[in-house]
């Protein structure tokens, strides 16, 4: 008896209607979708197990209500009540849907698309008729190319036949849940492929230097646009929120040469700075000297002869004050020229 009871419960989920009757309804909530989710062709196969379960139930029912006069109608009625109750729970359970704010529920009625549910508590027909697929549309998904942050290089040809190492990511979300579900066989892979194709087409149109520097944001925008066009042509129901180039570098093999270019730029700038410094210095000096001359000249103009004399004497005074002087007064006299002390010593030694 015990054996057959357990086999009845395990082997016959189809006929679990007996649950509340035999086991006080325990586990009824968990098991209740089963009868409806079973594919129809599964049923004949489960027939024998079901039959033994029925036998068992009937026998147990008879044992419990054996004291009364008419156990058979009672058993039948209870069975009906049980089935009815479970049906009711089933209907309630599968016809009400809680849709979160970021979700939409796509309803299919007997396979055909019926409507899309907005957020909140929503009601449909129960399960085999209406089915609801909940889709998160607000969640922005990120697709990184190359996959996984890119340890290797992702080399691309640029318009000037150079090669660039590019890493970027695409942010996208679902715009039309029904298109997203129904139109593409594998939408997420499609996003990646479209992104790669669009990015390579775009990079193939610009020169290496532009791709690495000034045109990055335009490239991002154009790739986004192009991706959107392609995805729309597939009716993918996807919005591309943005494309971000994370890295646009020359390939590792030539990066040294690129560094030498920036070093040369620095050096050239240094040359220019030096020249400018020289120019400023020289200009200031010239202006200063010219201004000084102008001032003196202005004074000179007022009294040319006197100023000239004064300047002459002042200069000669200062010049001659510091020098050894020999004045040769009389003509026809050989002047004695005093030698500087060291030179005099040398001369003496030689003698």
């Amino acid at each position: 008896m015990n054996d057959s009871e357990s086999s009845g419960v395990h082997g016959g989920p189809l006929l679990n209607e007996g649950g509340p009757w035999g086991g006080g309804g325990s586990g009824g909530g968990g098991d209740e979708p089963n009868p409806w989710n079973q594919p129809p062709r599964g049923r004949p196969g489960r027939g024998p197990a079901g039959r033994s379960a029925i036998d068992e139930l009937v026998r147990r029912g008879r044992a419990r209500f054996g004291g009364r006069g008419g156990p058979e109608p009672d058993a039948g009625r209870l069975l009906l009540w049980g089935v009815g109750g479970l049906l009711l729970i089933w209907v309630l359970w599968t016809s009400s849907h809680r849709i979160d704010p970021q979700q939409r529920g796509v309803v299919t009625r007997l396979g055909s698309y019926a409507k899309t549910l907005g957020p909140g508590m929503q009601f449909t027909f129960p399960s085999p008729i209406d089915r609801v697929t909940k889709i998160d549309i607000e969640d922005i998904r990120v697709k990184d190319i190359p996959e996984g942050g890119g340890t290797g290089q992702n080399l691309m040809l640029t318009g000037d036949q150079n090669i660039i190492d590019l890493a970027y990511s695409v942010r996208w979300n679902i715009r039309d849940p029904e298109l997203f579900i129904y139109e593409l066989a594998n939408p997420e892979e499609t996003v990646g492929e479209v992104a790669e194709s669009a990015m390579r087409a775009e990079i193939a149109r610009v020169a290496l230097n532009d791709a690495m520097g000034p045109q990055r944001s335009q490239i991002e925008q154009r790739v986004q646009q192009r991706m959107q066009e392609i995805l729309d042509s597939y009716r993918a129901g996807i919005t591309v929120q943005g494309v971000a180039i994370k890295q646009a570098d020359p390939p590792a093999a030539v990066v040294e040469a690129f560094k030498s270019v920036s070093a040369a730029q620095q050096q050239a700038q240094a040359y220019l700075n030096e020249a400018r410094a020289y120019a400023q210095q020289l200009g200031a000096k010239a202006e200063g000297e010219a201004a000084a001359f102008d001032k003196v000249y202005a004074e000179y103009r007022l009294a040319p002869e006197v100023t000239r004399r004064r300047m002459y004497y002042e200069t000669m005074e200062r010049v001659l004050a510091k020098t050894d002087k020999t004045v040769v007064e009389a003509p026809n006299v050989v002047p004695y020229i005093p030698l500087p002390p060291q030179q005099a010593a040398k001369v003496q030694q030689q003698q």
Partner: protein, 289 residues
Amino acid sequence: MNMSDNFASRNVIGLSIGAIFAVVVVSSCFAVVPETKQALVVRFGKPQTVYNAYKPNEDFGRTGAGIIGKIPFIDQIVWIDKRVRNFDMERQSVLSTDQLRLEVDAYARYRIVDPLRMSITAGTERRVEEALRPILGSSLRNELGKRPFAALLSPERGAVMDNIQTRLNRVARQYGAQIVDVRIKRADLPDGTPLDSAFNRMRTAREQEARSILAEGRKQAQIITAEADANAAGTYAESFNKDPDFYNFYRAMQSYRVTFGTDGTEAPGSSNVILSPDNEYLREFRGRR
């Protein structure tokens, strides 16, 4: 009591079996066609009808999806994908007209538009893809082989892809499929010599750029220096030219001071001066005559 017990249990068993059998029969009279699939009903191996066949630009909810009736155990349903599917081409090595080799990855997107033809000619979607994949490869090679390398990196690429799509579509139609899009995913230089020589070219181009930047920097610096010199000369000339004679005197005085070390700096070397009494400076030395 025993008798009626038996009767009751037999009754319940009978009812249950009947109900199950009824459910099976009824459910096999119907099938649910989802939005994502086309259903081809086959009766004794002969295709009968297509439900939910693809039509361009139809709205979901007005398609053929839904519940359909069929004869149980006789009609069988072949499910065919209605969505846009994709297949990748294996990496192909393509030789352009200027003898440059390129590794090309491409993908095609297609959908089954004629399930009946598709099921007769190929059977499954996978076999359609297997049939189309080599054709994509060969038409890509043909089309790209007609063009120079640079065309692949230009807006002409669009035209190339259109040609390939047209070619591929011609074949796809035989399988009841329609090519939605063909795109080059990657077009790279092959590893080894081609890639290395490209790198070498890039490297030398950069070195050349570095040198020309340096030379340009030097040139600009020289120009700036020369301009400064010229400006200074102009400034001097403008000022000094007012009285060249006085300038000569003024500058001579400055020069003497510097030469004899009286401008605060120590002049190198000592100086001896032998003055003739006829010297201008000593004119008054002898007293008035």
